[in-house]
Symmetry: D2
Amino acid sequence: MKNGDYNDALEHIAHELVGMARWARAKGERIVVVFEGRDTAGKGGAIKAIHGHLDPRQCRIAALPKPSEDQRTQWYFQRYVAHLPSAGEIVLFDRSWYNRAGVERVMGWANEDQVADFLQAAPIFEKMLADDGIRLFKYWLSCDQEHQEERFRERLDDPLKRWKLSPTDVAARAKYADYTAAREAIFAATHSAWAPWTLVDFNDQKLGRLTLIRHLLDRLPDTNVPPETIDWPELGHEPLTEEFGVLHPIADFSGKD
Amino acid sequence: MKNGDYNDALEHIAHELVGMARWARAKGERIVVVFEGRDTAGKGGAIKAIHGHLDPRQCRIAALPKPSEDQRTQWYFQRYVAHLPSAGEIVLFDRSWYNRAGVERVMGWANEDQVADFLQAAPIFEKMLADDGIRLFKYWLSCDQEHQEERFRERLDDPLKRWKLSPTDVAARAKYADYTAAREAIFAATHSAWAPWTLVDFNDQKLGRLTLIRHLLDRLPDTNVPPETIDWPELGHEPLTEEFGVLHPIADFSGKD
Amino acid sequence: MKNGDYNDALEHIAHELVGMARWARAKGERIVVVFEGRDTAGKGGAIKAIHGHLDPRQCRIAALPKPSEDQRTQWYFQRYVAHLPSAGEIVLFDRSWYNRAGVERVMGWANEDQVADFLQAAPIFEKMLADDGIRLFKYWLSCDQEHQEERFRERLDDPLKRWKLSPTDVAARAKYADYTAAREAIFAATHSAWAPWTLVDFNDQKLGRLTLIRHLLDRLPDTNVPPETIDWPELGHEPLTEEFGVLHPIADFSGKD
Amino acid sequence: MKNGDYNDALEHIAHELVGMARWARAKGERIVVVFEGRDTAGKGGAIKAIHGHLDPRQCRIAALPKPSEDQRTQWYFQRYVAHLPSAGEIVLFDRSWYNRAGVERVMGWANEDQVADFLQAAPIFEKMLADDGIRLFKYWLSCDQEHQEERFRERLDDPLKRWKLSPTDVAARAKYADYTAAREAIFAATHSAWAPWTLVDFNDQKLGRLTLIRHLLDRLPDTNVPPETIDWPELGHEPLTEEFGVLHPIADFSGKD
């Protein structure tokens, strides 16, 4: 997708996102959006495309670090529960409880019993949240290995993206088909009426983002809450300028080190 | 500043930011950056310019909501302490404990005793962190009222930015000089050898961001840690493509609702 | 029950409690015991009878304060989930999520929809915990109003117990039958194979405690894990005495103010 | 001290403790009591003697587990700060931040630089809390090795107390003098006007408890806040009895397994 088209479309959609957030706050709605998918598919970019338009005090990103030793022994969902939204909040999960049946399964970090237990428990867990009134959306971002390889390569070569590349990613390359199988098992077990999966093609990431956000917005009810009117009187005097006593601004960036 | 120049300079600087983060992780450094300044000065944008280049599992934004009833009665710094970094982490505070002597003071939400107590306590609190080895940077973003008025106006008129405008902002317009005085009092009391303030002119926000990030990087030691070498074998087969069984990708975004 | 008989029986039982805790730690077991029942029934005393014999770093009491404003809008079980045990831990809930269908229902703080939602959700929530391997025990402590009145009276008259008496308690007196009905509804909806209720008569509190603890121990598997042997060498010198330089012990309590 | 005398004195003192807690709640006071001292000195018993008389929703025991890997790299005081009191609360620290200069130093788990840093930081940390209005009391419980040996022996031989004995305790026996030296260094560095240490002889534990609690009460201002009067109407009918439908009470404990 061309940059210009993307930017035009995104700006159009951004108005709806902002409106949705205003509605969520006004109505005390709680929204959870789960982002899953292959490495390099574009989860981080999709999350930023949403988060970047919203109040960071309302819309939070939950990107959990690996569990501590204690957390490993707790109820599997416990550390995720701590990040669920209060009234008016939108939480974007960058990966989620599905780790257990995704990366942990494929990499052999969880055994098949744990995976089976998880696949049975996840829809029940999600139903509890849905029954409580939390709106739960689950997106899976797909991409062909050709694109994945390109993006891995870019991470390897571009110093700005190198931090995105981990040893797990190297191992993931040989397990592309295993990830496909793991995803299918997840869909078979956890695609439910109360928390359905939506699969989005991210071979073109810009198009993927628009598709995802458009879909998300279409799943929400009419969210038209007008902004509060704000009375905006004249300033009544010339605008003031900064006055400095104790400290002064440092010299502007000149491009020379 | 022109977009092209800004983007070129930022990309150059981004390499250093990424290098700095790699160094922080390798050495177990803990970094705290406090962003304070007038409404509309550009705290959020400066934070995004840094955060956007880094691993969100390493670099966190701390934008605390208003305190709960219980928190209001606790040690003033308690809720901030919970967000301090572990080894390798970088925490960007979007506003901070300085609220007490800034917005709370100007708006009359804190009384003068509380402000005086805070101004005495803050440098001691910061010295404890510095003595523990946390690197603490404090930036104050300044802008003249002319620009503030323009930006407020833009928030009022642009639906995408309207959520940034609060009743407090309206009140802030009449208190521009009070904010100046509050800032001076903060500098006089809390500009210390272990946690100095740096004042950056954000009348031009793009230039301000570059100035701030350049300054931050210059305050850190030589941070040259080479990335780990990663062995990248040939894939050994044609790249695979996604195969879909249970669910299929939804139709791409078409721009038509 | 006479004090002497009680103390003898309790000491006997205490050995089993201590053995159970050793077993739980050795095997990484997670145990949750919920204590519910009428005001004055004796929840606190029963909890202390267990907790007093165990390592407070292993056995925790969860007595949650009233929820904050934010918590009120979260998933109902969220704040309780934060207190669930890690491997080897025993958590005693002094009141629990059943508040919703108990005191909140009777006092009119929750509406009938919320109560119905809770009664449907609770067994599902508990099944998730049980399926995850958490051992969940639920005890309801009953007592006739004659004893409740005596104990309320004692709280009213005895300055040492006065803090146990709240305005809610006064209101509870007129609602004795409502509490009975609420309890019956709870049992009908949430007495399950995976988390059964056990009803214990606490008209005699000492007898009630023994009955409850005996029952709890009988529900656990053979918990015989011998303590680690500890090598205990001779000291090899005369025992040392405290030596004081900077500060000296204060004068002993004399009974005279 | 004889049991009878102890119980009489403790009951007398309990009235003052309860009054103190009522005062703390009424005035929004925040109280922290640190209990340090040799193994077996009697910290746990002294804490229970206070906690047992108070509302567990007001008076909390903070007995922190060993720090997680992440916590080890944070600001040393961070995990303790999370347990500081809100208005009206009393927090009893069963061991505390002084671990660093006590057990960690003696056992060689902290190096001398870390100890020196801690001894410099602790009084500053405590002054911040005191300046914020938190009332901070620090008690050190002493006992001669003769008594320590007896109590260790009892823990070794009495199955009910065996869990109190750890490998660290065995090592502690050979380091009695080192603990003395560590305590002296702590006193020299951290006995301050705002957070003084009080040393209490716990060779006789019952007497020690009374001495400690009496001292604590004497350090607080006149705490006379009358309890709220509560209107206590007649019940107006015969007291009701429990009625059971869904479930019935289990059989009483009979003493026979």
